[in-house]
Symmetry: D2
Subunit: 309 residues, 4 copies
């Protein structure tokens, strides 16, 4: 598990991008909204951040993309210090064993989502944010800007509108959760914030920087505390067990990092104590995770000998 | 995450046992068969093994107990090198999100158990063993004897008979799996072996030694290869995501080790690259895992700074 | 099964009301909205209509109450002649085996409700009406006024508002059905009409008259065709198998009539070829059907020898 | 609903057989055991019995076939008078909404089958018989011989062996029910009887005669009481709501008779107060009911004007 400090990250990342060059374009790009469907499927970027503040990258690592469900990590990061105890009464912390947007489990478990990384869970987390902060859209934007050091990170409004226009199932979910008393704010307000969160545009470099606190016991690269050590361990464990839809097991044994993925093709992964890494390639595999992204991370952990297992 | 080699394991383990002394007897001992119900609820033992061969222990670590579902780790360890490819076609590798003995998922997923650590999965793993070896009882016994270096490890026949007598649901499961064509040997033969596996009696010291290969890339303390490095990573990942019934998430964020638990009150856990550890205390908590066992492991990772996260 | 024409209906109905007098007030009145909670639990009325136009009644048979789910019968009656073929592609005709407002089955059957008498089915039926008619509220009102001959039947707006205010689960259902493409109009429009339909106020006499066409092969008491003979047989069969929530079986063997019940305590029942009957008593039993209503209908079929079975 | 006594049944039945002649062979014959797979798919027979003792028939009505699940009607007929109260505590009376052999509902409803006409329910009914009678095979044989007046009715042992050899799912079900404490006799004994019941060989004529008591308030054609009037109403209601797998609704609105079908292609149906009718054609439709059998019964009720609805 230990990672030699002498790893030449820059060369390693470049080697991975080069070795996967001929596989670019594989998988299926998400098509349910035009802004996602129109993304160039040949993109491939990777960036790795160390707690020291150093960042290494290769390929299309500076290009912004729709982070989609990776935003669930940031809404949780915002909500957890606000009301950790209250939050865990309203959202579980176990793998769901079901699809990310199933309503079945929600019915049998009376409106308590299994974990914060399925859609239902992120809706409740957003509701918790709205309980404490005036503006759930602005506050998440502030958070990712501060964590990544990029003050021009913004919501892609075309994506947010697309999510709203195609989000019938998420609307069903919000009303369903509310019917069990587990949504306190109006579903419309929660959904509006949620759809915006999914529409954040960030680059691999920005995401790797934004996630490095999880590799550093809750402290960001400037030494500012984002959450407690204990909370950062919780979040890492949640990423490992629940962060990659219904491929958590496969992800763990193949890649061996704690990770959160999005249908935009991004994956933000963490090796606790060592580094955060973000990879982006739009083509998705059968489990809804970036196909080349998973390959790139597998190569990374193999070549650097840095699996958690 | 790194573990200082200067950890004084012996003192640390004794401190944990001492600090938990006043909590002995908490939780509910499994009562479905007399040999389990009659166990002294005040027992508490812990043992830790290093890849170097060193073993540290405290409390009732030398006393044998019924390892129950921890045996699923050993049947998998035996089956994986026999037919890794075939096995993963017949058993999944994802968390189930359901109780360990539910038949619901089995019906919707047409007889393919979610992972090798739920009962249904272990039945199929046992079937794989029977496909390749003459005697699934003897071969598992041989394996744990060799791994632990204790040649007198044996099946507790009273426990095996109790399992058989109360195992209606496991019988239902075996016939159900067979109805989907995923059991090749007779359910009676598979169940007989399975019930015996659950009835293995081993001590914390023996279990820690038997599991140390998972902390050592697949090599046991004598340097013999038990499985490939890749396979050992798979097994560790499976333990982390699926090893503790429906408390995998809680176990991960609270304890931070890959682990497999049993209703006899034992938990065998691994920190890849560092150590294996086994704790035993018969009283179970609400998730069916040893209550004091989880506390002991939590103290261990906190005090040694050795969580995976 | 045959009903002697010499049955003295007036006396029989009065006898039932008298014999149940001491049981008035039993069961639990629906309380989820104030207008229902405030109903006098001691009410008991019964009315029976013959295809000839004759109507017999006893007790509080002339008092209007909230017909709630009995309205599902009238929305189906309106929609069926509009687009019978299209309707049955979008709604099933089988018992659900689940609660009337479950979303589980809807998920596994991809947005096709099991039958028109569960909430999800009635939402799709309302959507069909909106596909063909300008005003789904007015057209249903017209229908029940015409069928019952009472031109002042109206929606109880306090009830409609209450349904809207507490209807989170129905809203979840509408969005969920829409997410499968089985709702063409806006969920808000469908829900608004649906909540009004549930808020119809009618008396036992009006309901018995409105339902007599189902006892008369599709012709009302004035000889006007409401639906085809074949369609009336379909509707009767649906009432018998699906009309009383998850008590269809119990209702069939105990009462032996085709029936549709509502949480307002009304039950409209039909003996094909003979009569329609409506009973009202607000106290509900464990299956959500009027407790005294079921008793009254059981007495009716026993004393008149008129069970379908 | 009334049936003119002047119906010329003999001619009507012959007309149906003639009109369906060119459709013989349609559907898919059950193939899971050789004796069923080898049946001539072109067979078509129909027989109708009146309470008076008169029997009319046409086509292959005198040829015996495997009655399969129609036997569930006879095991219920035997068990109901033995312990009506106890039986209904152990088996429900509602439609299941699921496939006839699903284990899902059984798990959520803790081993209480939904009704006596799904496999799980018939296993419990058989268990009730074994609680009261020495020989569940012989007693059912006696019953159908007595009801039909054919003393040479027998079990087809090749079919019974085939059921046993392919009955893994039924075995799973029996053990599963037992795991909830709802099977008192050994699963092997219950299954052996159950597999034999399914293997009864009877003709349309024999089945129509055996079922006529359900059209006659519980009295057979010789005036002997088979069950109480109330019980016969229960059984008819159960047939209507639960007798034709997951096509109860379709059957009710299309055919309009209470019916119990089997995968051997037989359907035994009842119009309470009027007649029992049995049709046989081996080819099954998508719901597992005889395709031509349903057509024949639909023609029968249309041409005789004898639907229950």
């Amino acid at each position: 598990m230990s990672v030699s400090e002498s790893v030449h990250w820059a060369g390693l990342l470049q080697g991975i991008v080069d070795d996967l060059a001929h596989e670019r374009g594989q998988g299926h790009v998400a098509t349910y909204i035009p802004p996602l469907a129109n993304v160039d499927p040949n993109k491939l970027g990777i960036a790795l951040a160390l707690p020291s503040g150093q960042v290494f990258f290769a390929g299309d690592a500076a290009e912004r993309f729709s982070i989609q469900s990776i935003s669930k990590l940031f809404t949780l990061t915002l909500a957890l210090p606000l009301d950790s105890e209250g939050l865990w009464k309203r959202v579980g912390r176990e793998p769901s064993g079901s699809r990310f947007n199933s309503l079945v489990q929600l019915e049998s478990e009376r409106g308590i989502p299994r974990n914060p990384f399925i859609n239902a869970g992120a809706l409740v987390v957003t509701d918790v944010i709205l309980d404490h902060l005036d503006d759930a859209k602005l506050s998440v934007l502030d958070l990712v800007r501060r964590l990544s050091g990029s003050n021009d990170i913004a919501y892609d409004l075309a994506v947010a509108q697309g999510e709203q226009a195609t989000g019938d199932r998420n609307k069903a979910m919000a009303w369903f959760i509310r019917s069990f008393g587990n949504l306190r704010n109006s579903p419309d307000a929660v959904l509006d914030a949620y759809f915006h969160h999914c529409a954040l545009s960030m680059s691999c470099i920005e995401l790797a920087k934004a996630g490095v606190f999880l590799a550093n016991g809750g402290l960001d690269a400037q030494g500012r505390r984002v959450m407690s050590l204990q909370q950062s361990k919780y979040v890492n464990a949640l990423m490992l067990t629940c962060g990659t839809y219904d491929a958590a097991g496969e992800f763990a044994y193949r890649v061996g990092l704690a990770a959160k993925s999005g249908v935009g093709g991004g994956i933000l992964a963490v090796l606790p104590g060592r580094f955060s890494v973000c990879v982006w390639s739009p083509g998705l595999g059968p489990t809804g995770n970036s196909l080349l992204g998973m390959k790139a991370l597998t190569l990374l952990t193999e070549r650097s000998g840095s699996s958690m297992f």
